[in-house]
Symmetry: C2
Subunit: 402 residues, 2 copies
């Protein structure tokens, strides 16, 4: 079996944890498996480096930021290879240059274009555990890029896809995917299996277990993903195309508290106005989340959307500057909101699901600010302070813990 | 003018010092010069990383060690580029992969083979200050290598040579090359100029200002080297082929306290015996310093040599293991000795120089354990505790402070 194993920053935060990971991987290696390990930067390294960069230059160029951040993973992989070697297991670390992980040019948020497998394959053929830097790549200028949030998961899935691995194991500080965040809802239950689509909606909505880009890629290349605990040796959750067990109505409920809402009110209703607004934001690298648009009235309409809280200030600046050119009457915002969502492939054929969710919220006196739905998801926007209460209420209403 | 400027770890140890360096370089840039900056890792980064590696694996492979150490310089260059950008100066950082600094394969002690100039030239042509990682390279396997001690100086000189730079400025925590270490001999005088050969002998002998490899390379490619203070804006010392000022008898006196002596006594005198001994040590990567061999007596001879103190234990182990096969009667050693040397192109035509040095030591009651000379150098081995006294006595005897 060829297994790609990804460990996050907290799993390699110090000497003890590095050895803990090394031992687990060495065990699998000794069973005759080929092992590729993908690592993030140790502990808070990436945040610390960002802080350091900020102290030098508040608006450091993204190219230099990537050049700086990439050292975090290089440190992890070198130390991990050393740890494996000290356990008597042949191992080699490789960075993005050595593997040649080609990405788009966009610093801080690059996408994989193609990955050479020659070097990794060569090292696997000589029976080494290959330890690869997650999160980073090389663009056509030969410059270092980083993949943005969840980048190491994406690296792991991309490598699993290109190497045709038998499994891609994502090790986290939780034991798998739950019906709700166990820190919010103690009755939350671990799922044995979940579909890519469900996971995708859970990931997008802040379940924090897997990043949506990695799930998307896993779905696209049909890579079996396994979410497992890096601390305990217990069965995790498998993410795949078809789940064999009887489909539940909904798989989980999730809350994303890092949410702000911006409403652009009284937009003159001309063709292309949405394009102009969101193109403007895209040009400024602002990631938009849920978008909601009211029907037009008096030739004007309101557009609301959610974004990450730390992007709010910049988004408002960008919009206010362009206020006249996009013909907007007023810009409103709300900083402390949260998205609460239910996800489940089963809801497609069950029309009452959304109503049941709204009822649970109503019973708790939680008011709903926005609603957005997809085939397998219902999302509501509530006050940030109500988010946990909402999760527990919904979890109980759908009897997810049973 | 194209100027390559090299700053060591202490010059970029923190935010303030990084800006201090950035400002100086920005000034030179604004005068219309092309600037390439070569940096070491910040402060004690390299030592800290080595410690961290040791805590994971006492005998970490050199390949992984280089992979780890290389991040130190990458951090420096990224932060420096950010600092320059914040001063409004266009700048870009480049690591060994981006420049393509090809080296031999030997991890931890690689040598440059050739350096591509395309990328650096391209960035200089677009009027950027180019900030390059010192100390590191890439070997034919596309693996990271490091150059060993003084590696960043070597990088600077190599880049200056290949770019045909007008000057290579090495910034240090001293103001230039002195007739003796000012911390040992307060009367020491700064030299305005010195020849490559003199500097070479001073460097080898522990003057710590410039590493011998960088001076050798500067001599080979005729790169004008300038040793300057990174703290004060004062004139430094220029190292070049021919010194125009009247040649002094000797340029300086220097002490290297990191010295141990090993004597291999009663070696059976057969052809190739020296080769066998030193080949054995070379294979174990032990750097030998001065070698002295007595004339043969009774078909046996004694061979003494000096090495760095931290290499003594390993050297003794290697020799003792091979004791029988190399046919040695006894191995002796002395751990705390020091090499004291005088250097000067002027001594070639002045036969009394060595005698004068020995007299100065005799007057101070310092006994000489070994003597070794070259055309422009006289080195004696003394007790480590006598080293400073010896430097001062010799400095006075030759009136170097005047």
């Amino acid at each position: 079996m060829l297994i790609v194993k990804k460990f996050g920053g907290s799993s390699v935060a110090n000497r003890e944890r590095i050895f803990c990971v090394a031992k687990r991987c060495a065990e699998d290696y000794k069973k005759g498996n080929d092992i590729v390990i993908v690592l993030s930067a140790m502990g808070d390294t990436t945040d610390d480096l960002m802080e350091e960069a900020k102290s030098i230059n508040e608006k450091a160029s993204k190219r230099e930021m990537d050049m700086l951040l990439a050292i975090g993973e290089q440190k992890s992989v070198a130390l991990m290879a050393m740890a494996l070697q000290s356990l008597g297991v042949p191992a080699i670390s490789l960075n993005a240059f050595q593997v040649m992980m080609h990405t788009t040019s966009r610093y801080g948020n690059a996408r994989f274009k193609n990955i050479d497998i020659e070097r990794i394959q060569h090292e696997l053929d000589s029976h080494k555990i290959v330890v690869v830097t997650g999160f980073q790549g090389v663009n056509k200028y030969n410059d270092v890029t980083t993949l943005g949030r969840g980048g190491s998961d994406t690296t792991a899935v991309a490598l699993a896809a290109i190497l045709n691995a038998d499994a891609c194991e994502i090790y986290t500080d939780v034991e798998g995917v739950y019906t709700a965040d166990p820190r919010i809802e103690p009755k939350a239950r671990k799922l044995k299996e979940i579909t890519y689509d469900e996971m995708l909606d859970l990931a997008t909505l802040g379940a924090k277990v897997l990043h949506n880009r990695s799930v998307e890629m896993a779905k696209k290349y049909d890579v079996p993903l396994i979410v497992r605990s890096s601390l305990k040796s217990v069965e995790g959750t498998t993410v795949k195309e078809e789940v064999k067990v009887e489909k539940m109505l909904i798989s989980g409920v999730t809350a994303d508290k890092n949410t702000a809402r911006i409403s652009v009110l009284g937009v003159k209703d001309k063709p292309g106005v949405e394009f102009r607004i969101f193109n403007l934001l895209a040009k400024n690298n602002i990631n938009i989340d849920t978008i909601l648009q009211s029907v037009s009235e008096d030739g004007r309409k309101d557009i609301s959307f959610t974004i990450a809280q730390d992007a709010m200030r910049e988004t408002l600046e960008v919009l206010n500057e362009a206020k006249d050119s996009i013909n907007v009457r007023k810009i409103e915002y709300e900083e402390n909101v949260a998205k609460v969502s239910i996800v489940g492939a089963g809801m497609i054929s069950n029309p009452g699901v959304a109503a049941k969710m709204f009822e649970a919220l109503y019973d708790e006196g939680i008011s709903i600010k926005m609603i957005s739905t997809s085939e397998i998801r219902v999302t509501v926007l509530v006050e940030e302070k109500d988010a946990d209460k909402a999760v527990r209420a919904i979890h109980a209403a759908f009897a997810l813990g049973e």
